[in-house]
Subunit: 295 residues, 6 copies
């Protein structure tokens, strides 16, 4: 269960409220790279955790920390939306051109729906979506999802950092960027803790590789019409594979299969008459119809 402190994890100061920046900060709250996502992702991974308890504990600590990051950013949005900033008023006084800037790059729902507060949405007002929360039941896949989340998260935070020269905002973002550095390292450390990348791969490492198609599992396929373009010559074209369990090679893509042959349409599915020349028929639909009728 959870407790709170009324204080923020890190100070949130806004020297000069800026509704454009408030809109941009929403990406770090409710966007696919944002804090609601990592918060729920780490907590669900903890709650669903099976196996050694230390990973669950680790996830619970960091998931809980992330709630505080949402809080900081929501506070930053609210502060950027408020205030009798002399600069803004002055700009307004300058006339029509500047007001365009004011309305233009802002989110109207910050006014209309939230009354000058933060929302669970991204920088375009698209709502947070639970499909982004990854908890796969395989801890190595989860760690990769977390490394990805912290990578795009840190990229986003550095871009926000560049967009402002408000000292308070830069300090807050520098804190969040620092935490992203730690978390990128942390999830990779967890993989190392389990034996390292080679041991972990290919993820999941519990599926016997003898059962996968071993003709193609270390082959780079070139689909280019001009086979001289082999995806560029790179580490992926030849040499030992990263997992140490195979050797990269490069081949021209070609079909191993044939032209697919589907059966005739099912009569009860009401295809057009022109599709029905023949006698094949799907029994599944007929059976389904019989069943629904028979209950």
């Amino acid at each position: 269960m959870f407790y709170h402190d009324r204080k923020l994890q890190f100070p949130v100061r806004v020297e000069k409220p800026n509704p454009h920046f408030a809109k941009m900060l929403q990406q770090a709250i409710g966007g696919v790279e944002g804090e609601i996502r990592v918060c729920l992702q780490y907590l669900f991974q903890a709650w669903n955790s099976r196996g050694p308890v230390k990973y669950r504990d680790m996830l619970l600590n960091t998931g809980t920390e992330e709630i505080a990051h949402i809080e900081m950013l929501a506070t930053a949005v609210a502060l950027n939306l408020e205030g009798a900033s002399a600069d803004v008023q002055e700009a307004m006084a300058k006339g029509d051109g500047m007001v365009g800037a004011i309305m233009g790059g802002t989110d109207p729902r910050h006014i209309l729906s939230a009354g000058l507060g933060a929302m669970a949405a991204d920088a375009n007002g698209v709502p947070f979506n639970g499909s982004w929360v990854v908890s796969s039941g395989n801890i190595a896949a989860d760690m990769q999802a977390n490394v990805y989340a912290e990578s795009t998260g840190r990229v986003l935070a550095t871009r926000l950092y560049e967009m402002t020269d408000d000292r308070g905002m830069k300090d807050m973002l520098a804190f969040l960027i620092g935490r992203d550095t730690m978390h990128q390292n942390q999830w990779l450390a967890a993989l190392e803790d389990m034996g390292g990348l080679k041991a972990a791969m290919p993820i999941p490492n519990t599926f016997p590789q003898s059962q996968e198609n071993t003709d193609v599992n270390y082959t780079f396929f070139v689909t280019s019409m001009d086979q001289s373009q082999q995806g560029g010559q790179g580490r992926w074209n030849s040499g030992e594979s990263i997992d140490g369990k195979g050797t990269f090679r490069t081949e021209a893509a070609r079909p191993f299969g044939d032209v697919p042959q589907l059966g005739k349409p099912d009569k009860q599915a009401h295809a057009q008459a022109e599709q029905l020349d023949g006698d094949g028929q799907s029994s599944f639909l007929s059976a389904a119809a019989d069943f629904v009728r028979s209950v």
Copy 2:
């Protein structure tokens, strides 16, 4: 631009059509771990690629291959939905109990909306969502997104493999699992091609670490009430950080900030009277209203 071959990349055979399995296969088509996602993700990364052209070429090859994987799976869904399977008919003949199985685990839209074909949706009929397509403009972040996608993708494929003993389906999935093995290796090879993980981290590696908060960038924060639970003792608690640029340490989480103080509600935002005891006011909303009125 693109060309096609009427033949499939790998043979798709279904020995015994199974509408339950058709429903499950949808997760590999239109789900967050599925092939539409990786196809669009690699293609958008290629199309948006800036910097050395070899990465663009690599991405274009693999993105193009993934279209063929959607095709294989869509064919597999259509084949699983059709046919006069004697086994199914026999089961139907057994009576009421079995028909429950027939309708129960199937997707009604496979009949109602698609006429026994595949859809751009997941195993629960939730439509594919473009927000899953990651193309960040930072190639290392993109590679991490790709490693994650292929990790959860291979986990999904191995689970589907376990769910069927149709030889044709197992062969197709073994092919896809093999390709996932290659692609996990491939994206990590690209990172190695760029100098390896240490050089790449923290992602993005173009933001000077001196500007991030260096007090907290290698610290594991423990939010647990019982500080003896330090996230379990693990690789992440102490020692050199994975990126080789810091040293892990562990600290109790505590607030660096204070209780946040927002201003009074804006009058024109029509908060309740009870919120308004005071004289503060946000000039942004007033300015915005003035502007909208003035155009």
Copy 3:
């Protein structure tokens, strides 16, 4: 069934077309606080209504009225998007700064997708979502959903009222604000009609309170680390509960439960090897796999 009158419920006049305001009005059409939502909500509640017929009739009347409100707002959007307004042309003539205002705060899809008409979307172009339509089968819960909808709806309408000084728009909004006043009263009147709030609560009133956990059903839990912060001293800390069936008290939050213990991962779900040290296993997945294979 339904009929229409070509005339509007209330006049919609736009003195000075304003595409920024057209964008804002979309929130009142297709937003979560908007008219499509309440229209469908009241109609679905009517159509699903079980119990005394007078509530169904009441809902049908007001649901039907709301269609006319969508119509008024759609008309207002179309009118705000059109016209050879001299003011706008003049602003354009003033030069570059003003055109920024024109494009900036507008919805490009008003031009590109709707050809200067209204859309079933909110002020950010996010489509209307059917999940907002509440029809719970419990009439008191539905009435609370309706009071909420009309409360945020009226807040939205008053904010739109502040954003414009177009007399026609102010008149239309004053009408809608007035109707929201009625509808707030109406849904509460329906609750009173059923015996009042005390009789209705806790909703649903058909679940015997003896079966709920009576140790905690009137307790305010304080999760704050500093117990002196008791959520502020307020009506909710002590005294008779609002439903008259209990007494408020305040307690520090504490765990009644223990650390959760999940079983080992299922082998066929392909967790990582490192999660599998032990012999527990979920039979559900195994059974599921056996079943899917056996059909």
Copy 4:
């Protein structure tokens, strides 16, 4: 900021794992009536809170408590998905009919995507959506949103209670139902704390009622073709309004407005030629095109 305890707020025991019930419990996690919604809703209301600090503190306490409720339900899902339940195995042994029950009412993504864990989705696998999080900036509207959320939440929990006779699940749900009782009372207590419903209404109470359309603000409009059906005779047809600021009356709905007249289509918006017979034209689109071209 936030802290955690490894222990649960209330014990979660599952006597007999039931994947059907796991699917149903998802509604209470990621559904519109679920705990992620109320958790984020109360926390965003706290973080955006302007005005007396006691309301912020109250919201922070309860928002923090709700995280623990998500945790309990996620644990319950994981426990219902696992285990070597003798009953299930026995049912499987009984043959084909029962396996239909096993697959039929379950969520395939519990296996395929989550590896027998909980997801941020509803009982149909539809992802949690951030648009449900209400934080309007008007505290009375927010309280109404919260009363609604706890009303449908308690209705949901009582239905789940009826669906199971697992003693552990019933105990957990009885706890959650008890908390819903408290929270329904709590949000109404907050309204009372601010002066009670009459003072609060119509929400927002800061918009002068003299500016709303006072001809229609306490009128029940009858849209029925048969005017004898006046929405049923009820509390809403006559007598003092609930807010004490008006008198209910009933009238036949009729148009106050006229047939709307939109202008001719804009030439550059490429309507069909048949729509263009005339010379009217929208200058907005022309201006917009000029602008985009001119940048």
Copy 5:
């Protein structure tokens, strides 16, 4: 504005309640082929209508009729979910196998969220989405959208017809199928009213064809690797085009363009260092950052 009649447009009788069929009927209510979509689509087209008023009137009549179709289907769902059907009880008495059928193919939210009523969602519980509502501002494009909607709508209705042998449901669906026949004809009649398909095409007919690329506007491109597969020989390969304004021809697809060349990544967008070897830079991002900082 709108009025209602308490009576249904067509009788809705359910002889034998069937919750499986209730789930399927949801597709016709809230699915992409369903009645909420066409209802809102025709009404928005009417409300946004510019040009001859007769089309607006036509759309208003049919849009209003469609509300009655949602009502009929919602009633059908509610009736299919209720009742003390002896057959179902008997099936339940038969034991475990049959209950699988009962839960399996049903929507748990019909119980949990709607209390045995209809929802604004499709057969998988995916909510209605406003993006489906087409109102383009070009009446010919709108008519094509309507023909499509009624085509997939009638296909859906005929499949539902096949799924039931409940006489009441068959009668209701026969009515809806008949109406779909009319509406397919009606939208094509509107196109004929405007001069017929040749005059209408290519839609929009107000864009001068001399401005489109006349080298490719009647060419069927073959992307197949085997040019002997020319999309099959069909009406589209040669002969006069359908719009009578060109001649079909067939060509092998080939690139008219060259390999695309994007500039170097912008420094402030924090690509990886490895992408930055060069001196190009996007001034847009720099300018944007300067601006946000300068407000």
Copy 6:
């Protein structure tokens, strides 16, 4: 399976980068009228194709071509977002007013999330949605869906054409507009290939019209209160129907059905007590509860 050429199908040149236009172009990539939609739509129709193989081949050719259109537009977005355009810099130099234009009409996620590249989203940043992909299993319905898609697609492209005077962009759009002309003709040619519109209608043509309600299948219903408004006199009011299988007539809408009667609420669904006066009860819910409890 699929192959690629590094070259574009048609040259993409941007003379003067324009981030506003980049935002608008997104509608043609990830919007409901966009190229991802038609690409996936034609490919899924091909992959699901049953019946004569020539239609499958045709669809596969055009679906493959559309991938190249996404590629062209993504390239156009990337090019519009980049570059050291002197004009933009000059505008920036002009001062505050112009920077408003720069930020205002742009998509912040083009910077924050995509690093100056294209996204799988529309012009408002709303993600592509798989529900738009139509593949119904009835080829005539699919062709109508395709005609609609190309009609709104061409309308969109002509509007984009009007918005720019960048010669490169106009050339690219003229190419796409030309292809839309072909594709509108192509899908109608396919219908003609199958025997023409009369033979195809009503779609599906495999459902015997004797089974639809023949009292209403060619009747235009007037829901207007003023029966003199008969939807305007048009082709749809009288004369032979378009499909040649009936005669249009016009009638006043009236109810054929009666007031619907639903049963009492189910006790276990926990309606309010006030809804329960009577003894009716739904056995379905009771049975369901019994079942879930009994597994």
